[in-house]
């Protein structure tokens, strides 16, 4: 969940100009996402009409692939860029609306279990990544950024940490490139591994939410498996996101003690600033759903609004991934990130198997 890439910084342009500047890109997101949905439905209809058993490839994958093809062939013209960058905004709005599909009891049960696993994952991943960065002789701050990015919350965690520890822009772009490239790879590998291991929807969703870095990719990786897995993946990822402030604060204090970052004067204000507010929105809507504020058709309408918001997000995931740009960033951070990701994926898979055995997911 990269908040930084969401919208262009305020310039001397007026609000209406900025607002209308977003429209072409948002329409492109909608067109690509809807094309993905159209392809999925067309294949299903064709199979039905011709009595063929065709693989059900979700619109999620088609939308991402279409976006990838566009961004890596013709590229994204300037006029679309600001609007395409809003995909993170739609992701967060979609997560809040997804709260309507959870009863608070489920959130607390699955969320509590997720939080427990997140704590274990964080401790192991941060330690392992720090060790790995040292072994590969990466700069200490780049190591910190990669550790935060791969263990907690992808790009937004890296950006939040950059500001807190005064990391170089170059280190930050290395870490972001590595995390984005690995997130793109995870999208394709995770569902394959999940099917190969016959993971249940809940177990797979929990794994994707714990192991895939960026919220957009974690949501997509879950949705690629099944609708139920997508829901659980978002919940588990939201638990990780909720801890971002604490981890960034820890790193900020560590680097400040070394005299290489500014002191954190007000820790409570720091935590609130870094806390992802959409987590509160998600819990609030879930509370309203639990209190039966919405009727069944209204819950269904909110669920579908959430799906539309995610459709824009998935299109954006493909459109913003430029493989050539990612390739330019050099091999070492990527290798460290990749080794770390594989380790995190294996650790979390072990945790999920354990949780499945003890708590029957």
């Amino acid at each position: 969940m990269a908040s930084s890439v969401a919208l262009p910084q305020a310039r001397a342009t007026s609000f209406p100009n900025r607002f209308f500047g977003l429209v072409p890109g948002i329409l492109l997101l909608l067109a690509v996402g809807y094309a993905g949905k159209f392809i999925e439905q067309s294949i299903a209809h064709y199979g039905k009409a011709h009595h063929l058993v065709l693989p059900n490839i979700e619109y999620v994958l088609w939308a991402i692939l279409l976006g990838l093809v566009i961004s890596n062939t013709v590229g994204i013209p300037q006029v679309f860029r600001a609007g395409v960058a809003t995909y993170e905004f739609w992701l967060k709005a979609g997560i809040v609306l997804l709260g309507a599909r959870f009863l608070l009891g489920d959130v607390l049960r699955l969320g509590g279990l997720s939080l427990l696993l997140v704590f274990i994952e964080l401790a192991l991943a941060l330690t392992f990544m720090t060790y790995l960065g040292r072994a590969f002789k990466l700069s200490p701050k780049l190591t910190s950024l990669l550790a935060v990015g791969s263990s907690i919350c992808g790009v937004s965690a890296i950006i939040a940490t950059q500001g807190a520890i005064d990391a170089d822009d170059e280190d930050t772009s290395y870490a972001i490139a590595a995390i984005l490239a690995l997130g793109a790879v995870s999208l394709f590998i995770f569902p394959l591994v999940g099917h190969a291991l016959h993971l249940s929807d809940h177990a797979y969703g929990l794994w994707a939410g714990l192991a895939v870095d960026n919220t957009a990719e974690a949501t997509a990786a879950g949705a690629l498996y099944s609708d139920a897995a997508g829901k659980v993946a978002v919940l588990a990822k939201t638990c990780r996101n909720a801890l971002i402030g604490f981890i960034v604060l820890g790193y900020a204090i560590y680097w400040a003690q070394k005299g290489q970052a500014a002191e954190v004067t007000n820790k409570a204000a720091f935590l609130w600033r870094k806390f992802p507010k959409f987590v509160l929105g998600f819990l609030f809507i879930s509370l309203l759903a639990t209190l039966s504020v919405f009727t069944k058709p209204q819950l269904s309408a909110l669920g579908n609004l959430s799906r539309w918001a995610f459709l824009l997000t998935f299109a954006g995931v493909g459109l913003r991934t430029n493989l050539r740009e990612l390739g330019k960033q050099g091999a070492r951070p990527f290798i460290v990130g990749a080794v770390g990701e594989v380790a995190v994926a294996l650790i979390t898979l072990g945790l999920v198997f354990g949780a499945d055995k003890w708590f029957h997911l």
Partner: protein, 35 residues
């Protein structure tokens, strides 16, 4: 050097949009959303 902070983050705007949508659904202005 501190960067100028937005008074209302994008995160918060996303929450506001979702809550407004939920309100519109609740009061019946949005009745069905096809998928």
């Amino acid at each position: 050097m501190s960067k100028p902070q937005r008074r209302f983050s994008l995160d918060s705007w996303a929450v506001v949009l979702a809550l407004v949508a939920a309100l519109l659904v609740r009061i019946g202005l949005i009745k069905t959303v096809p998928w």
